[in-house]
């Protein structure tokens, strides 16, 4: 089965997804809102993510026997129209997240690596790679992630360690200066960047469980969350009150340690390695968006669904017409509440919905 994935592969992939993309524009945006307490916002977001992840893992465990896919679970437990509406909502989330990730990378390449090109020329090769990966199956994406995993984690650690000598952690004090209410509110309004577990909805039917479900996933979540919180802390501690002005956190974080031109900007090479995790995230989200279209349209092709691919490809041209800033403002203003439905409410209901769907399937087969 092309989309079959083991729980270990899922855990490694989840770690890449947690770390991928969170060090582009998010740290400076958070620093702009809550100052040096941004790392606390990240921490609270991860706490809620952890709770939802546990419920989703519970659902995965329940679903191990029946191996129902997300559409089947929602169809059977909530009805087909609701299921399609939720799929549409998922699709919007994925498309927006892909576009914001890609525009972050686009900026990174044009600012840091002096590669300026138009959006279409930039996005088409990435889309080609993503659709190639989708056509080869989720399994190949998971396996490829497994290969690059060690390298990416090393790169993230190197990026975190390299500026440590210059960091003044005193900048993080006093804790909670921005006000706990504001910190919590920010962790909610920026939730769009979190809840990376949502991709698991779309591989529910292909997850191969050996012994443990919770342990590998929670370890991977814990490591990913710790790295994100630490890097946010290091970023704010490094740049202090200037942090909101440095909008591409990852490319700036190594600037002091590698400032000597005699040694070259080796941190950019590690940055490039980290970028692989962003592309993995984009590929995974494109796979999910593709699956959403398949479920909504109801068209399934044996090898590759050109309709779904076409729809997803069209949506990737969004930043050509709307600026990333507008896109982000729209998400925060209008998207947060509806997105909460699938990001935070649905995982809590998933065990119940899975059981209901299983019961209905059993009744039908009897």
């Amino acid at each position: 089965m092309k989309n079959r994935v083991s729980i270990d592969q899922l855990a490694l992939m989840y770690l890449l997804l947690v770390t991928g993309g969170k060090f582009l524009t998010l740290p400076s945006l958070l620093a702009g809102d809550v100052g040096h307490d941004s790392w606390l916002s990240v921490l609270f977001s991860f706490v809620w993510d952890g709770v939802c992840l546990c419920f989703l893992l519970w659902a995965i465990k329940i679903n191990d026997k029946s191996k129902l896919d997300i559409a089947a679970i929602l169809d059977k437990s909530l009805s087909k129209p609701v299921s399609k509406a939720l799929m549409a909502l998922f699709f919007v989330i994925f498309v927006l997240r892909i576009n914001i990730l890609l525009s972050g990378c686009y900026k990174m390449f044009s600012v840091t690596f002096d590669v300026s090109t138009n959006w279409l020329v930039y996005v088409l090769p990435i889309a080609a790679l993503a659709f190639f990966a989708v056509s080869r199956g989720f399994n190949s994406i998971a396996r490829a992630s497994q290969i690059v995993f060690g390298l990416i984690v090393l790169a993230v650690i190197a990026l975190f360690v390299s500026p440590l000598a210059e960091v003044d952690f005193g900048e993080l004090l006093p804790i909670g200066e921005a006000g706990w209410g504001k910190i919590l509110l920010n962790s909610y309004t920026r939730s769009f960047w979190f809840s990376d577990y949502i991709f698991m909805y779309f591989v529910l039917d292909g997850i191969k469980i050996k012994k443990h479900v919770f342990a590998p996933m929670l370890v991977s979540f814990g490591v990913g969350a710790a790295l994100c919180i630490l890097l946010n802390g290091v970023f704010v501690a490094l740049f202090g009150y200037l942090a909101p002005d440095f909008d591409l956190a990852m490319s700036k974080i190594g600037v002091f340690s590698a400032a000597s031109t005699a040694n070259g900007r080796w941190d950019w090479l590690t940055l490039s390695v980290w970028l692989i995790s962003v592309f993995v995230k984009v590929i995974v989200f494109i796979f999910c968006a593709y699956k959403c279209v398949e479920k909504i349209v109801g068209a399934h092709f044996v090898k590759f669904n050109w309709i779904a691919a076409g729809v997803v490809l069209l949506t990737l041209s969004l930043p050509m017409f709307v600026s990333t800033r507008t896109l982000l403002d729209t998400v925060i203003k209008w998207g947060v509440i509806p997105f909460t439905l699938v990001q935070y409410l649905l995982p809590l209901l998933m065990p119940l919905l899975t059981k209901t769907a299983q019961r209905k399937t059993e009744v039908k087969s009897e």
Partner: protein, 469 residues
Amino acid sequence: MKISFDKISRLWLGQDDFRVRELNCGANFKAVCLDTMCDDAKVSAFVLQPLAYVENAQSLDEIERKLAAGTGVRKPPNFFAAVEDFTNGYTLIFDGEDNCISVDTRTVIGRSIAEPPTSMVMRGPREGFVEDVKVNVTLLRKRLKTPNFKIINLAVGKYTNTAIAVCYIEGIADKRVVDDAVQRIQNVKTDGVLDSSYLARYLDGNKTFLFRRIGSTEKPDIAVGKMLEGRLAIIVDGSPMVLTLPYLFVEDMQSPGDYYENSTMTTLSRFLRFVSVIASVLLPALYVCLQVYNYQIIPLRFLITVLNASEAIPFSPLTEMLLVLIVFDILREANLRMPSAVGISLSLVGAIVLGDAAVQAGLLGAPAVMIGALSGIGLFTMPDNTLILSLLRLAVTFVGGVMGLLGVIISSLAILVYLASMQDFKTPFLAPFSPDIPEDRQDALAQIPVPQMTQRPKSIPNENKSRRG
């Protein structure tokens, strides 16, 4: 179809090497053979001499009993089997009623067993497979003195009728893999199979156009080593290359001599091979995109040296590097097809005269030539995939030159996804790294001492996990 002397003689009518001998051993019998395929001494010793003084044989059964000296005497079950035996060099003896027996009188033509030129080792056995399927089976059986060593004989090719021997160890090899391989060979519909590489293309379930998915070896000790891990060895008559399957990418990093050396040294060599292969593919691309887009990454003094060396070059860094790589590929290709004596001269002319002259003339920069040469040499650490790696290197360099680091990342990921998606005979190509099988890492890139390898690899389907019985 009924076996018939008339049909056989009609089919070979007018052929100079078609021999018929009337034998009067009581009743009349006819012995036929193809002179070019038979050994005269065997025909004489196993057919003619034993029957010369027989005067009272009335049936083929009695004739068969008289041919006790012949080791391979059998009754072909049908006409096609009789024709197959006949074309392989058996002598057919017909009675008056169109029954026949075949006697093995095949001639052995071919080179003797020698050290294979493609797999030379410092230590370890020096025997290599030859073109004869029977000799090759003997070389395997000599090392596998067990009744569990099984051979399934098949023939492929409408005109060549090439003998194929599927060899495996019963109780170790997964029967489903054996059945799958046999099924695929039986489904081959072709005019002829001239070498095992023909068959490899039919056996590749993924129809891979880049990396090879079926292993091959010229050394019987390697083939047996692989069979002991649960793989099959497929011998094709006329080819000294024995196919092994299932095949893993990591096998490309392993060399025949690895198991006869110290495991620490083997581990170091394998890592070196791995690093050189990765560097060979990525180095030219990285050099170009660092020079064009991301020169800040290069240390200042190194950057100044590179810029000084390449400032007068009339080409862009991408064109310059592509030129170097293409010239290298042309030299390599020409070198392969030249007689060895001329080949050495050609290498010298290519490497020293051409490279040096190009640098002196200011057409190519010395750093580009050095990077190209380094990358080219690195490719040979994986000799079976040199050509494909060379093509990948050109592609990645081109994409890297056009798109910078973004291009290098995208193309590397695409290659990785492609490799990760390949799976055949229930074996993922990138195992034991992806999917991760920790137990199998004992003999992947790193190697633990052979006595500590107590388990067979899990990546290869097998029926007996323990290497100790």
